[in-house]
């Protein structure tokens, strides 16, 4: 196994392009190292992107923030601007693993690992985040929900990587929230995850909403019916009930070691409702 730690994006792409064998990109490494150890992957080349300056930074851009692929959770959580703009996304990232894992794990890594249970992804999807995908042919921006195509599978081409994620600006009476269900308080993979972002008008009516669910299907899903249940309402009890119903109906989970089908379907609705309540409260504070 060859290890390279390029200092520029171009050099990284070149390495990817010239390697015929199995390649793994090393950002925080909290998934890759576990896979290496278990023998799940045996890469020929590991490309560590943490020495690429641009990938280590968070930059303000058009009222939103661009977050480099190598920015770890602890750093994101310490960034006042992002915390204020997208508190739900930050809390989702901070739910990934322990304090120790936060010192390494990255949002982009979480995205590209393509687990349906990834905590940060439903929050990013709800926030309308885009991923900047860069490869030999240049860069393109795509919605984050287009990255994962199935468990462990991505739409990234050969020699492509996600350089950064962009969290857009948002309106005044708006906010977001993410909740996940785990049997313990920490150190678990989401059994169900729900990310919600909402925008209210001056009269307290929801004008825009995005609802995303994790761990209830082969990939994180954007649930339009759930958003529809909120839009045009004051997010009252009836709307919350409709939201919960829509979230539960959209869930197509499996039985596994982490939860049952019935449990996940029910809890998808419970969490969507609870996350919506938090998002509404946050939108009022602003």
């Amino acid at each position: 196994m060859r290890f390279e730690a390029p200092t520029s994006l171009n050099a990284a792409i070149e390495l990817l392009e010239n390697e015929a064998g199995v390649v793994r990109i090393l950002a925080g490494g909290t998934d890759v190292l576990v896979q290496l150890r278990s023998g799940q992957v045996e890469p020929d080349l590991i490309v560590d992107i943490k020495r690429i300056e641009a990938m280590q930074t968070i930059t303000e851009e058009d009222g939103g923030f661009r977050i480099g692929a190598a920015v770890c959770g602890a750093e994101l959580g310490g960034h006042a601007g992002v915390c204020k703009l997208w508190p739900g996304v930050v809390e989702a990232v901070e739910l990934i693993g322990s304090t120790q894992v936060q010192g390494r794990a990255t949002m982009v890594g979480n995205l590209c690992n393509a687990s349906p249970a990834a905590d940060s992804v439903p929050a990013m999807v709800a926030a309308g985040a885009t991923a900047r995908v860069t490869g030999p042919e240049g860069s393109r921006d795509i919605p984050v929900e287009k990255i994962a195509t199935g468990p462990g599978q991505t739409s990234l081409g050969r020699a492509e990587l996600v350089e950064s994620v962009y969290l857009p600006a948002r309106g005044v009476h708006s906010s977001d929230a993410y909740l996940r269900f785990i049997p313990r308080t920490e150190m678990d993979i989401a059994v169900v995850g729900a990310g919600i972002s909402i925008e209210m008008d001056g009269n307290g009516i929801c004008t825009h909403a995005r609802v995303a669910l994790g761990a209830v299907g082969p990939r994180v899903m954007l649930v339009e019916d759930a958003a529809t249940a909120l839009i045009g309402t004051s997010i009252d009890e009836a709307a919350l009930e409709a939201l919960a119903q829509a979230a539960s109906s959209a869930a197509t989970p499996i039985d596994d070691k982490r939860g049952t089908v019935d449990f996940r379907i029910k809890v998808a609705g419970v969490l969507a409702r609870r996350a919506a309540i938090i998002a509404v409260q946050r939108s009022r504070v602003d």
Binding site: M1, R2, F3, A5, L26, G28, G29, T30, L33, V34, L36, R37, S38, I46, D48, K50, C72, A74, G97, S98, T99, Q100, V101, G103, R104, T185, E186, M187
Partner: protein, 159 residues
């Protein structure tokens, strides 16, 4: 397998070593450098027994490759006491009987020090959540939490 040469700083000392690319920092610390204070309980970042500081951030050494340490600064349990004086956390762990078997203790101490460096006055809940990545099977955590809170109080008094 050809080995890679790495220069790094561990507990303030310049260190050089050779390692295979798939070796973890924990393997290097324990097997190559004989710094066996960091323990391997899981090898997958789930127990925290290998907690070390990497460029000022708390990480699991089992989730870092040895080759990544080039030009970094690493602090381990071996660097926690200064000379013949224990760190207040180490002393409080002893006084509160916060260890039974002691295998998780180095990881807890490194993690707790990282907490108190960042937040000198944590609540019990903050201590519990910060240390959620450190498993202890003997104590039920009670005495560990008390030791950390007590050390925080003492360190604030000294500061």
């Amino acid at each position: 397998m050809t080995q890679t040469h790495v220069s790094t700083t561990i507990n303030g000392d310049k260190v050089e070593y050779l390692c295979e690319t798939d070796e973890t920092l924990l393997d290097v610390l324990r097997d190559t450098l004989s710094l066996t204070g960091s323990k391997e309980g899981c090898g997958s970042g789930d127990c925290g027994a290998c907690s070390v500081m990497l460029d000022g951030r708390l990480v699991c050494a089992c989730l870092v490759l040895g080759v990544e340490a080039q030009d970094r600064k690493i602090e381990t349990i071996e660097g926690m006491a200064s000379g013949d004086e224990l760190h207040p956390l180490q002393q409080k762990f002893l006084e509160h009987a916060a260890l039974q078997c002691g295998i998780c203790t180095p990881g807890f101490l490194v993690a707790a020090k990282a907490l108190l460096d960042e937040n000198p006055d944590p609540t019990e809940t903050e201590v519990r959540y910060w240390l959620a990545g450190n498993l202890c099977r003997c104590t039920g955590y009670d005495k560990i939490i008390r030791a950390v809170m007590d050390a925080a109080t003492e360190m604030r008094g000294q500061a």
